[in-house]
Symmetry: C2
Subunit: 705 residues, 2 copies
Amino acid sequence: MSTIEMPAAETPAATTAATSPAATTPATAATTEPAIDVAALGQQLMGRWADSRRASRALMRDSAFHRDPTLGMDEHRERVLGQLKLLVERGDVRHAFPAEFGGDDDFGGFIASFEELLLGDPSMQIKSGVQWGLYASAILHLGTAPHHAAWLPDALDLTTPGAFAMTETGHGSDVSAVGTTATYDAATDEWVIHTPFRAAWKDYLGNAALHGRAATVFAQLITRGVNHGVHAFYVPLRDETGAFLPGIGGEDDGLKGGLNGIDNGRLHFTNVRVPRTNLLNRYGDVDENGVYTSPIASPGRRFFTMLGTLVQGRVSLDGACVVASKLALTIAVRYGTERRQFVGGESDEVVLLDYQRHQRRLLPRLAQTYAMSFAHEVFLEKFDAVFSGASDTDADREDLETLAAALKSLSTWNALDIIQEAREACGGQGFLAANRLTQLRADLDIYATFEGDNNVLLQLVAKRLLTDHSRAFAKADAALMAHYVADQVGEAVVNRSGLRRLAQSVADAGSTARSVDSVRDTESQRQLLTDRVESMVAELAGKLRSASKLPKPQAAALFNRHQNALIETAKAHGELLQWEAFTDQLERVEHAGTRQVLTWLRDLFGLGLIEKNLDWYVIHGRLSDQRAQAITDYIDGRLLPRLRPHALALTDAFELADEHIRADIATGAERERQEEARAYYADQRARGLAPIDEKDLIAAKSARR
Amino acid sequence: MSTIEMPAAETPAATTAATSPAATTPATAATTEPAIDVAALGQQLMGRWADSRRASRALMRDSAFHRDPTLGMDEHRERVLGQLKLLVERGDVRHAFPAEFGGDDDFGGFIASFEELLLGDPSMQIKSGVQWGLYASAILHLGTAPHHAAWLPDALDLTTPGAFAMTETGHGSDVSAVGTTATYDAATDEWVIHTPFRAAWKDYLGNAALHGRAATVFAQLITRGVNHGVHAFYVPLRDETGAFLPGIGGEDDGLKGGLNGIDNGRLHFTNVRVPRTNLLNRYGDVDENGVYTSPIASPGRRFFTMLGTLVQGRVSLDGACVVASKLALTIAVRYGTERRQFVGGESDEVVLLDYQRHQRRLLPRLAQTYAMSFAHEVFLEKFDAVFSGASDTDADREDLETLAAALKSLSTWNALDIIQEAREACGGQGFLAANRLTQLRADLDIYATFEGDNNVLLQLVAKRLLTDHSRAFAKADAALMAHYVADQVGEAVVNRSGLRRLAQSVADAGSTARSVDSVRDTESQRQLLTDRVESMVAELAGKLRSASKLPKPQAAALFNRHQNALIETAKAHGELLQWEAFTDQLERVEHAGTRQVLTWLRDLFGLGLIEKNLDWYVIHGRLSDQRAQAITDYIDGRLLPRLRPHALALTDAFELADEHIRADIATGAERERQEEARAYYADQRARGLAPIDEKDLIAAKSARR
């Protein structure tokens, strides 16, 4: 607020002006070296399914698909339903479905085009996801040919809006424990669907409060006194007038923190009967006698396989977070290069992005967004390979699940962090609905806890890391094992005494530049990041090894004692995946200037990860004190000033049109205001109309004395 | 999502069950040792102005003051205006004003009662702040007796809703550069108020879009060709019908990310004339001849003094963040002790707060909230001392400004972090409007950037730290200086070679317990935290010392190169203030059990700060590797399990009634659902109706084979 008498600390002008003449001018290819080939970079970011993305983006320029922030919840829900109908007409919602239903089995393209719907309205994206990604996909993947023929056409053209009734009030991420039961009644050859208590009500279901006419209901399949675990059943919900069918009831979830264009609601079933053949029976079936059969003998593996078909939810959330992060940063970077605040060295005020702190806030998040974008492409390729059948082994599906758990968790949190920083970086302007950032954040908030709570998903990742680690051990012969143990011991000794770090210090001899030189190249970054993940896994494995010999409660307690470390380990693994994806893309860049700038950006990402966990690297003897400190200096003193002139171009490569951005401050209003104000003052000075500043008067007087 | 086959990693049961029988039961005084005296702790948290707070809280139990989440913006604004009228009738909005206007000069009580309004609706709190804390207070503090007599009565009883017209579209935190001018016209003895370009429009003003009838307008005071800097002017805005007066126009800011009960808007002035006496002239006046006089000769100090009267905005935001954090954590902790998820060691599922990760998410934030609450009390005492005149020197005002800048910045960010974690910890339930967390976060979002952008305020703090540091130097005699330099050099040598850390390692000899013992006591925490702040300041001072000898642009560039470090230093200082405030309160606790638990909580806060900056402590040789690692182990293995049984009691001490909480999941709904579900399964088992699990069947078969 008060800013007086602190010109130095508060008006830090363009540092970079002292080192690079281009830094204070908004970056354009003409004024900076190296330049970026924005078009080529844009194409690279678009990835393999660029055409699907571009088609979807073209559609999203139409205001019919845009969110109207003035609408209340009821009107917003109706608008979004209308947008889904428009998508059926003008969009391409059938890609992931077989040719007989109008599709072309293009799973990657389906997801890619779906992700871009976020630019219209996240509510529209998620309601589309409910209809085609969950409800219709459950029929496709969990049902068999008769189900497809009976229900897919109406699901695809939205004749039957459907709910995906998995989550219960009492059970979110723990699907295996849902309370709803489907009990086979051989007398009538029917399933009896029942929610025995309030916590077993299906909850949070899109399309349940208003529009849903049918649902795929997940329930414990019980026949002949045996519970065969969770299966999906097709259950009609409402009649033609929209009234609930007998035995079915529900509630509206009402207003939410975001995504209010979706009619989330609750459903309960009181002994609701559906034909035996309404069981979606691809992975488990029951005959007229109530005898259960399944192609997958293990109930655990069967459950895992069924839920695995739903991984596309996590794929598309990951991709949607990439799109949202690109949008938020485009707004904040544009505003940051136009908005001026506080007088700098010259009489003009300084643009925000010339302040080091502003760079520190936005540029690492720009690097994060590139990493997320490239990592998502890897994820989507894997998803497409599995679902198209091109590469669909058990191991592939397991890898896909792990990738999904790791990347969805990181990117949903990253997106919230990026949007929030973008909002704060735009100050009060960022809080106006007209500039969209707060609504974007509100809508994405739930992404962190739906389709699997991030903290739960990351434990899946950790478990996989531990399993891989123990497999490596199982295969290892005795000699290797002995070697490994010796290594471990040796390392412990070295670290404990600090000798390795000490040796590094001596070699570094205090030269910052050389210290950084030896850690900033690609291989050093890889080694540091990989080493940390491997060491964390090994350390955890050691601590948890005794669990297999303990009684269950004690084993569980042992795991709980390390739960936080498990999750942190999984995060480190996910970040490494992002870093690897970013690094792989560097080699595909042909344009020298682009490669240089992208390499700096990747360095900012990689060194940022190392900086964030600097304590680990120092404590574990991976970095000397000098090198550790040099990393921060290198980021502040080198990478940020180098990247600053390219910030605009790096967001231009996101290829967002004004109709996608739709934020006043990023589409011309701020620039106009700034130019008008500067012209006014220049004119006042030129015409001698500017008043004298009292401070100058005092200074002049005291000089005369 | 899929949870199968990972009982160990995913269902980590009650760790603490293994070490403490009480840990899995929700804490009550009866079942745990030591017990907390909740009532006494509650009284301590209420602080010196407990009566004002309790009166305000009593009022806030009335649903007339509660936010109705179903209202659209227009209705919400009207409701909040109505609530302000109710406050005039039933509340106590005049405390901070003199007796002749119905007040009792009770500044602390005024702010304390005002902060608690957040429990009704943050929009109501902030709109009250606009009316009484800004508009009326500007008349009181910047005006003189005739102004008070003329305008205060109508301001206080809301006959004249008023706007506080300081911020401009083009200038947020940089008030000294506003573009609006007030030029004295001696011919008519009037001020001409004018906004010369779009960026100079007053913006974001509560009461401006609809309800405001007058405004205190901040403009550059120009008379006889000299600009005397920013002053405030009383300007009528609208006539009795609500129409703008001649020359005045405006726009509605429209929908915002939150606080939509306030009619924020923009105002522009085209040569609007007001009498000369409408200048609020306490700190600067102009006579009929246009001659300017001021009791404060320095324009800089004058500006600082005028803005200093507005510090109460920052005081009350800090306090509001404390209230909001208490509310959010009460909801999340209650839910965390009732909600069960994933089967644990026994057949019942585990309550969330028995998971280590859940403890890691909520308990440090509970510690943070206590620290914020106690630090706010120090802040409020200081504010009251200055404004009541009890202790109102220049140095006091300067201290108050620094405290305001440091604590407002930290607590606004802390509150957003706490509310968000609380929301995620409640999963999808946390996203429902009925459970209030998302709206609370949305409303508080803007707190981080209004009343001074946090990043700007923290630079004020850093500047003060640097000034104090250089003052200490100026006073130091040569011998002291030499001693200091030697110390510095000595330390650098020791750190550089890692010798100090090495010595510590040897002494620690690998014993975790002893390692932690030596850093966990109060004095060690204080030393570590203080040492870090002082070292950071000294290091910065060294790097910035040459600035005074550089030309202005180069000096600014030098500061900019360390802007991020400046801000991080200020944060460290603010955190130390919070820690000191928390520690001071420990000594005031009489009840032994409460003192023990609060000490653990303070340790969690202090060691958490050290853990967060562990890289600094290790790199700078303050902690050995062993001690550094032991801190995390101590938090996870000791502090969290010790505090877990007291989590509920620690939130009970916040004394929030169900009418304040108003979140279904924290006021009984979740508990009922859980009890019903458990009763159902128990009954099924008892009556032999539970189906056999297929997995058990398989296990039994394979055992028979």
